[in-house]
């Protein structure tokens, strides 16, 4: 019924495109995801609860969420600096740097995982430098964080860039004319203005990190209770023909991601409404 909602708008094509969107979305995304959820409900609630709350599973949530949070935070800080320098400063190689930011999108995650492991293992280019300092990256949570940081970079940079580009210079000039110094201008004027984008970038990179598998398994060491991520546990369950367990854990992660994404969209929508007065 709500398909007909935009009542007699002159712009044509709502029914067609909406119907197509919904059908395609259902076929590709919704029905398969429903299959996943229903599969986890083929057993009783208590059993499902038990499966998703085993100590080892819980430990994997902790590792996954903690590392994802740290990685997203690193990305937030450094991604901001990268986006800032890319939009504000002229320097040699800027175009190249700008182009390369999308690399993690395109590189197969397994290749990234192997490459990162090669660099950060104790006989690797960087690992060997860190070894004398007693810092071990590969096969620790640090390694997971490195991999998750790698795959999250483009999300933060690419959401912040347009926001920084659209920042009106007027605002900064206004702050300067009111006597604010650079730092005050940054904290009080620029930061709040790009906050919604920062939240979005952070959340996107966080959400992506939650589900990441390919690049992590090589570098994480996969130690149960310590460096085992949830995606790996799903695979483990599958290896044991435990479809219900795998589906239950996958569903849990899926719901987390969905809620996270919904929050992002609402934040953006809300910020847009309030600030633009739409």
């Amino acid at each position: 019924m709500w398909l007909t909602f935009p009542k007699r708008s002159v712009i044509p094509g709502f029914r067609l495109t909406m119907a197509y969107t919904l059908v395609y979305l259902s076929l590709i995304v919704l029905i398969p995801l429903a299959a996943l959820m229903l599969r986890s409900f083929t057993s009783s609630w208590t059993e499902v609860w038990q499966k998703i709350s085993e100590p080892r599973v819980v430990a994997s949530y902790k590792v996954t969420i903690l590392c994802s949070l740290v990685a997203a935070t690193i990305n937030l800080v450094f991604g901001f600096i990268v986006a800032w320098t890319l939009t504000r400063y002229q320097f040699w190689g800027r175009k190249f740097v700008d182009a390369i930011v999308d690399l993690p999108f395109a590189l197969p995650t397994a290749v990234s995982g192997i490459a990162l492991t090669a660099i950060y293992a104790k006989n690797g280019w960087i690992g060997s430098l860190l070894e004398p300092l007693g810092v071990q990256v590969a096969f620790t949570q640090l390694g997971i964080i490195v991999a998750l940081t790698f795959i999250g970079i483009p999300f933060v940079v690419r959401t912040l860039q347009p926001a920084l580009e659209e920042l009106e210079i007027d605002l900064e000039e206004a702050a300067a004319s009111l006597g604010a110094n650079r730092w005050q201008t940054f904290v009080r004027v620029i930061l709040p203005a790009i906050l919604p984008s920062m939240i979005t970038g952070f959340a996107l990179s966080f959400a992506r990190a939650l589900g990441e598998y390919g690049s992590v398994v090589f570098i994480s060491g996969n130690m149960p209770m310590k460096t085992e991520i949830t995606s790996l546990l799903i695979i483990t369950k599958l290896e044991q023909y435990d479809f219900v367990g795998a589906s239950a854990i996958a569903t849990t992660m899926l719901l987390m991601s969905f809620v996270l994404l919904l929050i992002i969209n609402l934040v953006q929508w809300h910020a847009g409404r309030v600030l633009r007065g739409a």
Binding site: P6, G13, L25, R88, L103, A110, G211, I234, A250
Partner: protein
């Protein structure tokens, strides 16, 4: 209105002191070197570790060629499908108001955040022999999982949001003024879309397609779950890389990886060009009257 072009002009007086700029640029360069350039370097380093001839020899394997072909086929089907979807979804979402828009947009975004493993798993659950439609499809002699359609499906899933996500904000920003103008001038719905809407979003479209293609070619986890790993038949390039790596054939593995990386770099270059044109076009639009003439 500020220009959208990179490196916008900031009055000198408002810029950070030189040393702050230098530090920030240094941080940017070292961070990206550590995180992006070094992995890239490792790929090529390993690929050429036994010389150039070893590098090129690794492409003589027919399995490599079939993997490249399959990757291109999967990308070639998945990306156009998502392109059409992206256009339809962006049209419905950007040009109309309806309740539940936020949820719809979130659902479109969802594949971004779904673990690739899960992305593959869900199709197994639907089309596998133990799944919903597996038996039925098998009775009809249709194979989805462990065959090309499954690989295409998984690729479609992981690249699902890319085009739509590029288009929706742009089309929202552009509003419906031009479409209305076209309709008033007597254009049909298709004419309006074809002559007015499409040219306005073409660069964003190209950008979305490039990102989707890059991701489609590089996808590993999801495809791995539904592929069946039949050498020469259902291995995509990333899967083939895994096979080679597991065969201790490091040079060939990284040679194939370097090929993907090169493809990625080429698309990134194209993307930069596209982006540059996009920015130029936008800044032209945003520019107030060029000159008060006549």
């Amino acid at each position: 209105m500020s220009s959208l072009a990179l490196g916008k002009k900031i009055p000198d007086r408002l810029n950070e002191p030189l040393w702050v700029r230098a530090i920030l640029i240094a941080i940017t360069l070292s961070f990206l070197t550590l995180m992006l350039l070094m992995p890239l370097g490792v790929v090529f380093w390993e690929a050429f570790s036994r010389g150039i001839s070893a590098y090129f020899k690794s492409f003589q394997d027919p399995a490599a060629w079939s993997a490249i072909k399959l990757t291109l086929v999967a990308t070639g089907i998945a990306v156009p499908l998502n392109l059409v979807f992206g256009l339809a979804a962006a049209w419905a979402i950007a040009k109309f108001d309806f309740p539940g828009k936020s949820i719809l947009v979130t659902l479109i975004d969802l594949p971004f955040a779904v673990s690739p493993v899960v992305s593959g798993l869900i199709y197994v659950l639907v089309f596998g022999m133990q799944g919903w439609f597996g038996e039925t499809l098998d009775a009809w002699g249709i194979k989805v999982i462990f065959a090309v359609p499954g690989i295409v499906l998984a690729t479609v899933f992981v690249t699902f949001p890319f085009v739509a996500r590029e288009l929706i904000p742009l089309m929202q920003e552009q509003g419906t003024d031009e479409e209305q103008a076209a309709l008033v001038l007597g254009a049909s719905g298709w004419q309006t879309f074809w002559y007015v809407t499409l040219p306005n979003i073409r660069w964003a479209l190209v950008y979305g397609v490039i990102l989707a293609s890059a991701r489609a070619m590089g996808e590993f986890g999801a495809v791995s779950v539904v592929s069946g790993h039949i050498r020469g038949k259902t291995n995509t390039l990333p899967l083939h890389i895994e096979v080679l790596y597991n065969e201790f054939n490091v040079v060939a593995a990284f040679a194939a990886a370097s090929l993907l990386t090169l493809l990625a770099l080429v698309t990134l270059v194209i993307k930069s060009v596209v982006e540059w044109r996009l920015a130029r076009e936008r800044s032209e639009i945003l520019k107030p009257s060029a000159a008060e003439g006549a």
